[in-house]
Symmetry: C2
Amino acid sequence: MNLSLNTCQQMDQQDPLRGLREQFQIPPGMIYLDGNSLGVLPRATADRLQAVVQQEWGVGLIRSYNTAQWFEQPHILGERIAPWLGAGAGEVVVTDTTSVNLFKVLSMAMAMAAQDHPGQRVLLSERGNFPTDLYMAESLCAQHGWQLRCVEAAQLAQHLTTDVGVLMLTHVNYRTGSMWDMAHWSEAAHAVGALAVWDLAHSAGAVPLNLKAAQADFAVGCGYKYLNGGPGAPAFVWAQPEHVQRAQQPLTGWWGHARPFAFTPGYEPAAGMGRFLCGSQSVLAMAALGCGLATFERSLPLGGMVALRQKSLALTDTFIELVQTQCAGHGLVLETPLAHDKRGSQVSFSRSEGAYAVVQALIERDVIGDFRAGDPALGEADIMRFGFTPLYVGFEDVWRAVAHLKDVLDAQSWRDARFAVQNKVT
Amino acid sequence: MNLSLNTCQQMDQQDPLRGLREQFQIPPGMIYLDGNSLGVLPRATADRLQAVVQQEWGVGLIRSYNTAQWFEQPHILGERIAPWLGAGAGEVVVTDTTSVNLFKVLSMAMAMAAQDHPGQRVLLSERGNFPTDLYMAESLCAQHGWQLRCVEAAQLAQHLTTDVGVLMLTHVNYRTGSMWDMAHWSEAAHAVGALAVWDLAHSAGAVPLNLKAAQADFAVGCGYKYLNGGPGAPAFVWAQPEHVQRAQQPLTGWWGHARPFAFTPGYEPAAGMGRFLCGSQSVLAMAALGCGLATFERSLPLGGMVALRQKSLALTDTFIELVQTQCAGHGLVLETPLAHDKRGSQVSFSRSEGAYAVVQALIERDVIGDFRAGDPALGEADIMRFGFTPLYVGFEDVWRAVAHLKDVLDAQSWRDARFAVQNKVT
């Protein structure tokens, strides 16, 4: 074994970002490799929520929409997210859910396509995209008489033909952690006259992003994964500035009106990204997201996303190497690309048997990863996912997680009946 | 003065619901008459949120989707709201915002109308409806080639003609507090072959509701007003059970899928109201709403909504009588119906001059009401709104609020320049 526990402990000692972990309240002894599902709790969140509840709501009451800038929070939080996306000032708002925001941007992209290239009525995506993206696209395609074309990732290029009006991709695949080259595929979409819509659910806060340089057209993303905004945190939405006024997103609620308190009967969209807002947003949820963003901002003097990415790749490299050396012969198949430029911040292994039980056995040992069932009809294997959030995961965590995995596999403890039954909501 | 302070204090002593106020954390000395904008803070909310943050999120982390029933919260909260709406088990879910939910139910109602009465492509509403309702309707009408017909309330009957496919009304008007007869207008809609969609933003928790007996077709409502769920609390949605499978609402996100964790590429809606869900909901926001609902449930042994309504009407009667006797000659015009069966739980007065400044002068005295600008182009006067939440407002509050109003008007203190500038987000 080249990578000893001692080596990993030394890597932690040399890690310039190691102090960032102190910002989080991680249960003692837990190795949390599921930040790609739900980020851990920042220490500051509880106190901040108490202040919002007791002071802003309890005492300030309705006045806090002005005095505590409740109305401005979607913009204030958007401004803080923008730099992590390679987006400019005024280009991001925080609101609603990823699914609802995807509905807004797909509606706009399809309306723009209908204006510019009325014959191009295909929405192209990856068959293994996160299902909610495909469901929203399916609904909009049915409504507008478009075709939803879902293809295997390897076949994307040959299906990106001149009948495609919108290319919709999730930048980092939720199952495999495989990452698309955003600039390449945005350019490829533009080359056939299509618009490129990106879901950043597994990218924001996880990998470097540069929406503007990549010439993406629209993007949405999630607040509760790598951004540590808490369960069900509000999502965000971005549009290329020149697109904002090209079409109207259909969820035309009062928060997106140019003058919401004029209470005029006709809808008039706000000048900029405000028009992507719709109804009242949870102030509690936005406050928690603000605390999550603060944990990222603390990394800025230490190198910000460049440093976080460097550590993320070192973590996933270490995990892959340790699993491949320590767990050889146990039928684990790496589903995540080895090439750094194709890898997000997670590592997935498939296993033909017992993937669910192995994950459960690890969870019992306080090593939290998760399981995603493959669809046998589609030739997909069951997957064990391990997310590596460089803000709070260390190299010793990686070493110990693999030691547990090796134990579970060597001793076949995953075969215990208590791990066999899927109790997750299905 | 017939209604003396002493009389009002006696009314409080005789009020069987007076103990319910202890459930809330109302700033000392404040008279809060704005529960129709944002309900006050229940005492239990802060501790509950701490438990959700520290235990469910902090310790339970991703496991809490199962162990703390995070996924089930939209249904669990819906079951608790249903009895206050006159809805049955499994008929209400809590999710998203009122505006987004309105988009869902209007889409369904319009799709059903297109099937049943394809020639009836008018969406009829009240011109003075809450603007977001009209904005959402405007967007959907443009999309589906319908006409949005907005008429004055008094002209509704004559415009409810056989070209109307959907009648959309807010049950209690946000400006005037005027209440529609839900059974009468639902029947009138059905008589012309139209569906009746109701917005209960100012009704849920404020007035008795019986959606099923009234034969309403769809309803949406708000969690942050009378339900005390906190700023931007999630909204709710109800559909007549026989309508649920008639059409597909277009926001087909994974939380509305029959098997969200099967991660299958094709959308298959959940069997019942679950199909109105879309994306991940804020667990913090749902927890706070649960605390708000608990404050209502405490009224059940004391008579529940019947008792709350009786007190609400006594409060608004008292307020109207006191203002009319104490503030006579100051140009206040009652905009709220005197008839009990036409009145919600608020009272509005218009004033041709200084309505904004009067409200500001009252707020400075810790009497919190609010202001809604009238649109002069539409012949609307500026309105001072006062909401009366029987859970926590008492008769002495009413007396003192009117005494302050009288002072402000008698002394013309509202003319002070500091009250003149509208600093609210506009």
